[in-house]
Symmetry: C2
Subunit: 218 residues, 2 copies
């Protein structure tokens, strides 16, 4: 399969969520324009995206939901397990553990890490918290490839360096810091205040000025 752009992957993940969380009652198939309407996209874009992962629809019938879900799972590599670590077991980190463990998928949180000795060896929502010193050992032992970084800004870059050293392949960063990572390590920035600030701007300016898609992740 040809390289698929970041943008397309983001939309494919959203299609998958839509199919999982919001399938209209009693439907087995969906038309491209229905998916498009739910996400405020053009129908040709939906067809084009689905084409990129080799899905086939049928004129007059649309796309079969179960087959499409299976195809998306496969394309997004969600048919295999991915080990996830949460680094920083503060309020946000613990909330993310609880939130993500509640919806068990192939993305499973296998460990938490914190510098605070009071948190080490505690178990949060079924996930054990380890000392940062044990990062490399635990990452290897648990087969962890992804990390969610929820430490304070000042601790983010050192923690990221430690993660890279431990062989992590992707980082989801919540700290308000522009991380420097080797290019081969995937990075998603998810700085909540950035999103709030965007909202503040767009609610303060006429709606007309909102030029682009409402999404991102993006």
């Amino acid at each position: 399969m040809k390289p698929i752009s970041d943008k397309v992957i983001g939309r494919l993940a959203r299609y998958r969520t839509l199919l999982t969380e919001q399938v209209p009652e009693g439907r087995t198939h969906l038309f491209s324009y229905e998916i498009a309407a739910a996400m405020r996209l053009a129908d040709s874009q939906v067809r084009r995206d689905l084409m990129a992962v080799g899905t086939r629809g049928v004129p007059q019938h649309g796309y079969e939901i179960e087959a499409l879900k299976a195809r998306l799972d496969d394309a997004l590599a969600l048919d295999r397990a991915h080990g996830v670590a949460v680094v920083g077991a503060g309020d946000l980190g613990r909330a993310l553990i609880a939130f993500l463990e509640a919806r068990r998928t192939t993305l499973a949180i296998r460990a938490a890490f914190d510098v605070d000795p009071a948190k080490v060896n505690r178990v949060f929502s079924g996930v054990k918290c380890h000392a940062m010193a044990d990062l490399e050992k635990v990452v290897a032992a648990e087969g962890i490839t992804l990390a969610i970084l929820c430490v304070p800004a000042a601790a983010a870059q050192p923690a990221a360096d430690a993660l890279v050293h431990a062989g992590i392949r992707g980082v989801l960063n919540f700290a308000p810091v522009a991380l420097r990572l080797p290019v081969q390590v995937a990075l998603e920035e998810l700085v909540i205040t950035t999103y709030l600030e965007k909202l503040a701007y767009f609610t303060t300016h006429p709606a007309k000025e909102r030029r682009n898609g409402r999404h991102d992740a993006r």
Copy 2:
């Protein structure tokens, strides 16, 4: 000022965070290529973005940090206060309250809401939790314009409808649901699993395939 695109606003917010959180020791000015390097952008893009908000740099000296921060605050409407509500006081909602209240800015959380009677009237990190039934009253009384939506998927659309009815201007959505909102209400989708799924894909495929910016939001 001309309309500024969603993409540019997102980067401006990130420049602002960089200037606030990561100013190199003892510097009063920064060059466009320094800002660009920190964010993995082209230097001409930084200059272009700053031009959009009317900032002037000086050849040989770069951009004055304090003046630039002030200009960005003004452009992003962060010089005024914005009232924020957190809807859904579960683990994630309460963590966001604690997280955002710790970094008091002009984006201040003025109220939380939940359907659970056990949570109503409790105070989380200094923020009072109200019944959903009181949404409209409290939003008006507290001058709330933005909402952070952290309710379960099934409750998201009804909650969003109630927020719109109460006159909210922008919604930051954490629920894994494609919300339908009137176009004049700004919407940012921040579905954490979507980001994790993107990471899973990019860590499973050769780094070379990563075509685009590492960010989004945005």
